[in-house]
Each structure stands twice: as structure tokens, then as C-alpha cells.
Symmetry: C2
Subunit: 407 residues, 2 copies
Amino acid sequence: MALIVQKYGGTSVGNPERILNVARRVIATQQEGNQVVVVVSAMSGVTDSLIKLAREVSAHPAEREMDVLLATGEQTTIALTAMAINGLGSKAISLTGAQAGIITDQVHTKAKIAHLTPGQVLSHLEQGNIVIVAGFQGESSDGRITTLGRGGSDLTAIAIAAAIKADVCQIYTDVDGVYTCDPRIVPCAQKLEEISYDEMLEMASSGSKVMQSRSVEFAKKFGVLFEVRSSFNHNPGTIVKEETMNMENVVVRGISVERNQAKVTVANVPDRPGTAAKIFTTLAGTGIIIDMIVQNVSNAGSTDISFTLSKDELPKAQAALAHVVTEIGAQSVSATDGIAKLSVVGIGMRSHSGVAAKLFEALSKGGINIQMISTSEIKTAVILEETRINEAAQLAHTAFGLDAKPA
Amino acid sequence: MALIVQKYGGTSVGNPERILNVARRVIATQQEGNQVVVVVSAMSGVTDSLIKLAREVSAHPAEREMDVLLATGEQTTIALTAMAINGLGSKAISLTGAQAGIITDQVHTKAKIAHLTPGQVLSHLEQGNIVIVAGFQGESSDGRITTLGRGGSDLTAIAIAAAIKADVCQIYTDVDGVYTCDPRIVPCAQKLEEISYDEMLEMASSGSKVMQSRSVEFAKKFGVLFEVRSSFNHNPGTIVKEETMNMENVVVRGISVERNQAKVTVANVPDRPGTAAKIFTTLAGTGIIIDMIVQNVSNAGSTDISFTLSKDELPKAQAALAHVVTEIGAQSVSATDGIAKLSVVGIGMRSHSGVAAKLFEALSKGGINIQMISTSEIKTAVILEETRINEAAQLAHTAFGLDAKPA
């Protein structure tokens, strides 16, 4: 008998029929002899409708009240899911985030979990119930309703799995698992059987939007083994866990692609302490998220600093930098969009030289120009022209031997 | 400075525009120097949609989960109302039923309020907030979400008014107040300035569906003065309170009408102890609500027993009685629908004879036949043919001097 946490996202519970499908799947899991805790998101579309309603009564809705409002989305799903399971003849009990003991800080709309007291979850499990918990929400220590921000339901599932020491946490979504590359880009991409937390983190932060990084980080911190799988079929998914020795035999785990990037270059920055800090402190103050930062050795007392960011944030970044450039005595700011990032990820590359070389060679053979390069211990990322990114992904996928063998 | 509880029903908060209207009205009340607690219902239509969703996942949804589901309706409204007030520049805080300290028994979907600990309501008021409380919902002592059943939001408002010793509880609805008769039936009906709890109760149980009886009973028990008024204009409404000496000067307060009634007569019931009990115990066992019961003196050892009930429940009643009739040795059961009830209500009639006489005379002049008569201390009710009920109401209204004087 295992203790299993299952999390179903908004698409998986998007209408009554799908909720009934989830109910059947959950009951089957219990009937195989397991104890089951189910974490559910709001039905797809519900959160957006609620946000629209809020904007109709106030241009800048109070965040405290936004949380009270949004929390109704998951509360609706837990009730419906429990009803569906009851209706199919099994015992189920729903719990809101607060009832499930999820205590957060007081930062509305993006609260962090402070601690979790799963007493009610455990006692309902012991009484033979399937326990249905509202994802995405919690309660501050002074009794206010809070929400956990983007990816919050995944986080709820991982945190509960950690607190009740579950054997596995299954994250059900609308994809089959984690792939060596997005199959819409590289048709012969393969589903990975397993991946380490660190690789998953690099994939997540490089555009493979299966899960938000914070949930993976939480799972890594508390050693929660989880599986990403589809709620629309019964295929095994991808196991995400601590790296093991044999994982290192695989040099490259996968390739991820991020579009809609922009590149900004501040030219001829005087090469003295504090100039880079000035640039990035200014940007951080505006809340813009910067991805790659590249600075080469200086030449005649000055250097060029380049960074990438989401294309949408480019105007904001240009406005913020206008003053700074004169202040630090740099020459100019130039910006380009129409670029994309390709990342090659794998913990095995730590101990293998030649990954970067193989990537550059593959791209060069395809006649694809590399605009920027950035590497970490387990990732090599390059910036390319966006129009050629699919081609580049396919070339790299083949070069690293990731293509599926024809059936 | 007064402490005021305002309750807004589903129609009054039916869309964002109306919620903004409510917000303006609430802010105006505060700016006149009052402390304000606002109780809101679910937006009109929301509860029905939720019930529909529940039926799509389960034919007989578990009542515990139904309460979790339905409670989201009012939670949505409190958040939106607080946002709207914040957006207009005033301080507001929303509280769910549980957060407002409404503790109920454990009877899901029709819980009774056990006690109320309004600590949070009072402390937020003291900090200068308008406090928005979700109507219709509470929490059982073991932490489950409960709902109060029909008319539950009115009950929440009255109960909070009692607990915080409010000066007045204003029940905002889509009618202007309590009228001497339904203005759609009697165009010259007048709005009452005031009415006693007992009269309000008799009006409520006789078809004037402004409020459910249980809220009026609760207000009477705890001496909560309340006002029924419209959220769509600024007219004063009707004050409902303890009777005062001068109230008795008004012999008849109003006339109420209830359609869709049916009458059942059990003929030749042997006149011995226990036969009536047998009939009504059987009916009570099926959950059918019986209204008037009439039994006349017996004649040659047997009597006829008649009662009225809602037309919809007639088939159920006939089925339930089929066996009983033979068992008690009665002759037969006959049933008629197409009847209606007219009630004349007023605490003044206690000390005035002649109310019944005046009613019967008015109806007789109009050639309207009376099928059944039943009287209480402050009510005289008659059963008539349904097709003539409007005419009868107008005749009685005129006879008791209730018609508004032409402007």
C-alpha cells in the first residue's frame, strides 16, 4: 500500500465530464490498495472570469480581496470532485487550503508556504476517505485567505506530499511527461523516463513550461519524488527525482526552446566597478526579469554589456535605461527582438567536455549564426534568430542522439 | 453615530454595476457618520448555476460538499464588494461566515446558528473599516463549512445585528418595503411605515414573500429592529419592530394572498380520539407542509376534516392518505385545487370584534363564496376560488380602509 498525492490541473477538471474522469481515476488508484490525496486547481477559465469580474468593479483590486475571490475557484472544484467520487460510490472529503493546514506568510496573491499541519488530511485518510484539497490557496497565521501565485497548485501538491511523507506525488497535466524537446518543434522527440531536479529546473527556466521552477525547487529541497503525467491517458509519465549515478551516463537530457526574446546591448560601458551594478539595479527596480547576461573582456577601458529578456518587457527596459546610460558614461543602448534561446541541458555534461563544441558545430553546419552564448554547469544556451529556432532545435536534437528510433 | 447592518440580496448585487451602486450606498452611509457592516448574498443566478454543476457530477450530491460549493457564491460577492468600496476610496474588509464568527450546528444545507462570536467584525469596525460579511454561510464547531438554507442571508444580517447590538438592520431588496397588499393585485396598496414582528410573521406565512419567517422570528426573539427597503431607490422602507401601544389603533395592517393552494377533505371521519392525529402524523412523515386545518363539530358520530396545502404537494398527499382512510374508517378523500387563500392581518383585531364580519360582508357583496375559514389572534384567513382572489383582495382592502388616497 502506498500513500499517493495526485494533482490535477485546470484542464483536467475543466468541465463536469472531466471531473468525473478524474473521479474514476482517483477511485481506481484507491482500489489498487493506496491511500490517495487529490489536489485540484480551478476549472480552466474560471480564474480568468473572476479576474475579469474584479476589474469590472475596480481598476486596481485590493490584493487581500483578490485572494478571497480567486480562492472560490479551487473551492468549487474540491466540492464537485468530492461529490463526483461520492456519486460513484467511494468516500471523499473536501478541504480548503486553510482546512488542510496550509499556513502561509501574509503576501497576498503570491504567498509563500510557512508551514503545513496536515492533521485533518491524515485523520480523514485514516477513516478511509479520499481527501480532496484545494490547490493554490492557504491561510495566513492571522486567518486571512491567501493564494500562492502562478503554479501554486503544483506547490500545494508537492508540499502536502512532503508533509505527509507520501511515496509519490503525481502531477497530472495535459502533456504526457517531460520530452527531450517540444514535440511540436521536434517530431521525433522522446518522452523521458526520468530526470533530475536540477535538469528539470534548467528545462523549466529555459521555456519547457510543464511546471514552474518554484515547485521543482520545493520538491528538491524536501526530496519529494514526483511524476509528471497526463490525465487523458494511462501512459507512464516522467519521474523527477534526486540524480543517481547512472543518470550521469546521459550527457544531454533534453533541449528547450524559448521564443519571444529580446536582446539589449549597452555599448562602450566604462570598465570600472559599479557600472554593471547600476544597470541591473535599475532594471530590477522595475520588476523586469532578466535572463542571460553576457559581458566580454574589456577593450581600451570599456566593454559592451548585453542581456536578454522577454520581448514584452523591452519598452519598459529601454525607458528605464535611458537615464542610466548617460549617468554611467556609456555610449548607447541598442535593442533587437526577433531572437530566441536554445538550451541544451544535462547533468552529464559536467563531466564531459565537448558539449558546447558539438552544439556549435551542429548549428554551423546548418548555417545558423550564434548571437550570444551562456553556459552553466548543466546547461549550454545560445541566442539565435527566431525564424531559425525550430531548425536549430532539430539539428541539436539529432547531434546529441536524442531522436527516437523509427518504430 | 449609529451602528448599522445592511443586507443586500442577490438581485441588488446581480452584476458589477449593481455592486458598485451598493458600494456607493454603503460609503454614503459611513460618511454620514455611521459604522457599517454589510451582509451580501450570492449574485443572482450564481447559486442556481452551482446547483446545476453539482447535478452534472452527481445525481444526489453529498450535502457536506454542497455547502462547500454554495459557499463560494457569497465569498465571490464579499470580495467584489470590498474591492468596489476600496476602489471608490474607502476602507473595506471582507469576511466569510466562518471568519465573522458564525458558528452553526452540523446540519448541512439547512444549518441553524448556534452562536456568534463577532470579535473580528468588531475589531475591523474599530479600525475604521466597512466590514463585508458573506451571508447564508457559517462553520460548524468542528470546522466544516455549512449553509443556512433559504432566507439564510437575512438571518445572517439579523444575527450579526443582534450580536454586535446594532442600532438598526436594513434589509435591502428589490421591493420598497411591506405593503398593505401586493401592489400588482391591489394597485392602491400603500407601503407601511411600520409593522410588528407578529404581523410580519403572519404576512410572511400568508404569502407576502418579502422575508422568510425564520429571520423575523430570530429578530423578534433578540429584539432586532429592522427595516425592509429597496436598493434601487432612496425611499424609506418599512420598519419591523416590537409592537407599541399606538400600533393597536390600526385594526388591520394588511392583506396577503397565497395562490396555488389545494384543499383536501377526509369525509365522515369517526369522531374518536386519535383519528386526526393519524391523518396528520402520516402527512408529516412525508415532509408535506400543511397550512390551514379545519374540523367542524361532529354530526351523528362522525365529522369532516379539511386541510389546505400547496398544489404541488397534492399528489404526494393523496398517495400518503390512501391507506389511512380505510385504517381509520373514514368514508373518502376528496381533493380540489384552483383555490387561494386571503388573509387579513393586524394586531389591533385582538381587541376589536367585527373584523371577520366585515370581511365576510365585503366578499358577500361581491358575490364571492367562502369555502373555508380559519382565524388566529391577529389573522383571519379564508379560502376562495382562485379565479376571484384579486377581486376579493381589492374588496377587502377597500372595506378595511387601506386604499391610498388619490394624490
